[in-house]
Symmetry: C2
Subunit: 163 residues, 2 copies
């Protein structure tokens, strides 16, 4: 089972591919798509094509995406929606199902508490996936956390184990 976590934005789209195997999880790839373009339409197209290439390269079984409940202001929320929309369409065009999780569910699945800090989540992502360093940038770490959350929800791993 290959799960692609995606953290969408109109400048950077974080992604993290997690494979569950024999009850443990490993990361096969993570990073960010940097949206190129002088205006919003071109950046969105670039992000759409970039995340599409990631999907084509890894052929994940599903995508894990964050639900949006809160945002600072209307402009930020619209931009987040724009980026989310193109990730949803890119996945749907490839018949990849999308699962959505609230930020609190992700924290709970990864750290054990819905109130966990960003740093705690990143440290647990590193530990669970046995990475040699904390994944950077934040968008990639958030995407890996989303993928871990979905693996956990699926029961693809028992309890998350740090080794």
């Amino acid at each position: 089972m290959k799960i692609l976590g995606v953290d969408p934005g109109t400048r950077f789209v974080g992604f993290g591919l997690v494979r569950s195997k024999l009850g443990s999880l490993q990361s096969e790839d993570y990073g960010v798509v940097v949206a190129q373009g002088a205006d919003l339409a071109h950046r969105l197209r670039s992000a759409f094509e970039g995340i599409g290439e990631v999907m084509d390269r890894h052929r994940p079984d599903c995508v894990s995406l964050e639900e949006v409940f809160f945002s600072k202001n209307v402009q930020t929320t619209v931009k987040l929606g724009e980026a989310r929309g193109l990730v949803l369409v890119a996945a749907c065009l490839r018949d990849i199902p999308v699962h959505e999780y609230s930020p609190a569910s992700v924290k709970k699945a990864v750290v054990g508490s819905g109130q966990a800090s960003k740093i705690q989540v990143q440290l647990m992502v590193r530990a669970v996936l046995r990475l040699s360093e904390t994944p950077r940038p934040d968008h990639a770490a958030d995407a890996l956390a989303l993928a871990i959350c979905h693996a956990h929800r699926l029961g693809a791993v028992g309890a998350l184990r740090v080794r």
Copy 2:
């Protein structure tokens, strides 16, 4: 000059095609794309493909889209962003430039006042385009108003004339 106004939504995407010719405007087509699908991803894909077909059929010179400044709540704003994102990508994939206008600019261009009511805008859209009836549904009328606004901004028509 053919201008496609688009009023995006995750259920209905309004569109209205306006052609400026010899200083007057006429509507060549208007309506709504009804997004089909059991879940959000499929509805967004359906809307993306549907508005893409409208663009391919009419080959507009540009798209006119509303800017978002205000919304009722986070969920509505995210959905609006999702729908906007796919319209922007659909246009960009076809090299169609997108112009954005605030709701007040649209009202001012069509009615003459940024405070105009929805009904006033619809009546003026009907009058300016010499339609035999008020365009329905609202999404289509809003899309026509956006196209008229851009024509006005371009100076493609002098003062908007009601005949």
